[in-house]
C-alpha cells in the first residue's frame, strides 16, 4: 500500500462467502491463473502491473477491476495477442 494510511476500519463483514461477487470476477481470477501457467507473466509481474495503474484509477477500481486492468495492460505490453 506504499505506506498510505486513512482507509478506515477493516471491513470484517466481507467474509468471502461467496468468494466472487459476480461471475466476471471469477473469470478474471481464472484468466490470471491461466496466463501464469502459460508463462505470459508471473505473479510479481501481475502485482507490479496492478501497482502501475494510474493512482486515480487504482483507488476508484474494485479489487478485480484492478486485476482486469492489469491483465489487459500486461497482454498489451507482452504483445501476445494479434
Amino acid at each position: 500500500m506504499g505506506g498510505q494510511t486513512g482507509f478506515g476500519p477493516v471491513p470484517v463483514g466481507e467474509s468471502g462467502d461467496p468468494p466472487f461477487a459476480a461471475d466476471w470476477e471469477a473469470r478474471v481470477y481464472a484468466l490470471a491463473t491461466m496466463l501464469r501457467r502459460r508463462g505470459v507473466f508471473n505473479s510479481d509481474e501481475l502485482r507490479n502491473a496492478i501497482e502501475r495503474l494510474p493512482p486515480d484509477r487504482y483507488l476508484a477500481a474494485s479489487y478485480y477491476e484492478r486485476w482486469l486492468a492489469a491483465i489487459e495492460m500486461l497482454v498489451r505490453e507482452k504483445g501476445v495477442l494479434p
Partner: protein, 191 residues
C-alpha cells in the same frame, strides 16, 4: 488505453477471454475446470486437517513447521509451490498473516481469500497496528502477548498453526479439525 476500457467490466472480461482463447492461450474448458476445482477443492478444511494432524502427531508437526509445502503434500495437497511457512501460536506469541503488496494467500489450503484480506484497510494497517486491527475482529489479546505479522509474497506464503484449545485431549483428529476456523488459520481469531 484502448477503446474497450470503456465497456462494462463483465463485457471487457468476456472480450479479453475470447481474444485469449482465439490466440490459443486458454480455453473455456480449461477455465471451467479450474473454477470447478477452486469451488470444490480449495477450502479451509484442508488447512484445518493439517492443523489437527500437527496437534496429534509430533513428527508431523516438526515436518510442517520445517517445510510447509512438504507438510501439505503429506496430507495430499501436493504440487504446491507456495514456499509455505507455518507459524505456530502459543500462549504468549500470536501470529497473523497479511499481504501488503496485494493478496498472496495459500488458496488451496484456506480457500479463496475473504474480501477483508484484500481490503486497503487490512493491508495497510495490519503491519502498523496489528493489535487495533485484531480488536476489530473481536480479538483482544493480552498486552503481554507478542504479535508477529507475516507479510506474504509470491515466494513465501503463510498459515498460522493455532494453539490447541484446552479440554480437547479426548477428541479424535476429525473432531479437532472441525474446531479450526479460516480466521484461526489467518490469525484474526483464536480457537
Amino acid at each position: 488505453m484502448t477503446g474497450h476500457d470503456d465497456l462494462p467490466v463483465a463485457a471487457r472480461t468476456r472480450q479479453l477471454e475470447e481474444r485469449l482463447i482465439a490466440a490459443g492461450l486458454t480455453s473455456d474448458d480449461e477455465i471451467d475446470e479450474f473454477l470447478t476445482r477452486l469451488y470444490t477443492k480449495a477450502s479451509p478444511v484442508n488447512g484445518a486437517r493439517m492443523v489437527a494432524r500437527a496437534w496429534t502427531d509430533p513428527r508431523y508437526r516438526d515436518l510442517l513447521l520445517s517445510d510447509g509445502d512438504a507438510g501439505a503434500a503429506e496430507m495430499g495437497f501436493g504440487d504446491l509451490t507456495y514456499g509455505l511457512r507455518v507459524v505456530p501460536n502459543t500462549g504468549s506469541a500470536h501470529n497473523v498473516i497479511v499481504c501488503t503488496l496485494c493478496s498472496c494467500y495459500p488458496v488451496s489450503l484456506l480457500g479463496p481469500s475473504p474480501g477483508w484480506y484484500k481490503s486497503f484497510a487490512y493491508r495497510s494497517r495490519t503491519v502498523r497496528e496489528p493489535r487495533a486491527v485484531l480488536a476489530e475482529f473481536g480479538l483482544a489479546l493480552p498486552p503481554d502477548t507478542g504479535i508477529t505479522v507475516w507479510d506474504s509474497t509470491s515466494e513465501a506464503r503463510y498459515m498460522v498453526l493455532p494453539a490447541r484449545p484446552d479440554g480437547t485431549g479426548e477428541l479424535a483428529e476429525d473432531d479437532l479439525a472441525a474446531l479450526v476456523t479460516r480466521n484461526g488459520l489467518i490469525g484474526t481469531a483464536l480457537l
